[in-house]
Subunit: 180 residues, 2 copies
DNA sequence: CAGGCCATGTAATCAGTTACATGATTAG
DNA sequence: CTAATCATGTAACTGATTACATGGCCTG
């Protein structure tokens, strides 16, 4: 009965208060998405499993005929979440970036094409950063410091990346002699 | 007959010359691993598929009774690879970082525990960076500029991350008043 | 009354890892 | 002679996405 990271996303969000599966998805999309994405296809089955193992508890919150189930942490769930958070083990980081892969194999491309590609990468990171920036005020207003710090990290990271690609593009454009 | 990124890792590496499945894995581990990992469980079946669709060709290179198969790109494979590289479409980037997830939910931890966690994250990124640094000279000596640039990007990225976590840890340690 | 959002779920599929199985060659 | 490395492969499993199906509520 090992729990995966997705289970902790759910437990973590429920640690902030009772939420429905739908809520969890919305909140995750606004907060953890940039370093841990989830989908309904994982959330709903996971909610069932967590209920079965007694870490969370369902409570009916239907309005008329419209179904709605709120979940909240049990004492056991709280404890499990806290133990996970407090455990300082080193966990692995995974990055999958198909554009970087393309860049890696881009030696056959012309300088112009490479610059266009770098420009696209820069743009992509800028987009992610400004997407995060949009709900930065919300994150700042909350009483949870780490959540805000993680958001700031995301913004800074993507801006740093955008910057790096921009600089490389500039280098390629000016110092052609360096090519090859 | 859509090709996934892993297929392009293989095509890209074979674009540098004929290699065995084993070679491909070794080279990928030294180069693309930090933004696109692969395993034998993907490489061997993919080599079979690529052979069947005529993008690569197998050539026996056994030595005595020791089996060895070298693969090289066909004209069609070269073309497919080049078309992929030249296509400037925006592809998605995925990050999965369980430690960042923990940090995100770390508001219940004490300042000391959080600092320890940040220290571990800093250390992890430093490790990745110095791992990459080890074969930086090899990358620098090759005639492929983009491969070297991508490696430099990886090093700089992880060092930037290490730095960021280090700074946050410092902030937490000194400016306690900012907590909560 | 239509479109958007709230809400729940499942089935099929896909990508990728892990563990295993096998054996040859080479360097110390 | 033995350990490391070269070399190829598969089966089982896991984690996650996608697409679909269904329907109610609320706002303009």
């Amino acid at each position: 009965m090992e729990l995966g990271p997705t289970a902790y996303v759910i437990l973590g969000i429920l640690g902030l208060g009772p939420h429905s599966g739908y809520d969890i998805k919305q909140l995750a999309d606004l907060s953890t998405r940039h370093f841990w994405a989830t989908s309904y296809g994982q959330i709903y089955p996971e909610l069932k499993r967590l209920t079965e193992s007694g870490l969370i508890k369902a409570e009916d919150a239907s309005k008329g005929t419209r179904q709605r189930t709120l979940y909240h942490l049990t004492a056991k769930g709280k404890q499990t979440l806290h133990m996970w958070v407090a455990d300082p083990e080193i966990l692995n980081l995974e990055i999958r970036d198909e554009m970087l892969l393309k860049l890696f194999f881009a030696d056959a491309m012309s300088g112009k094409e490479t610059v266009r590609h770098l420009e696209a990468m820069r743009h992509r990171h800028q987009e992610v950063a400004s997407g995060l920036r949009e709900h930065e005020p919300v994150a700042a207003a909350q009483p949870y410091r780490m959540k805000y710090e993680v958001m700031k990290f995301g913004i800074a990271l993507h801006e740093w990346c955008a910057d790096w690609y921009g600089k490389l593009a500039k280098d390629l454009e000016s110092g052609r002699e360096a090519k090859r």
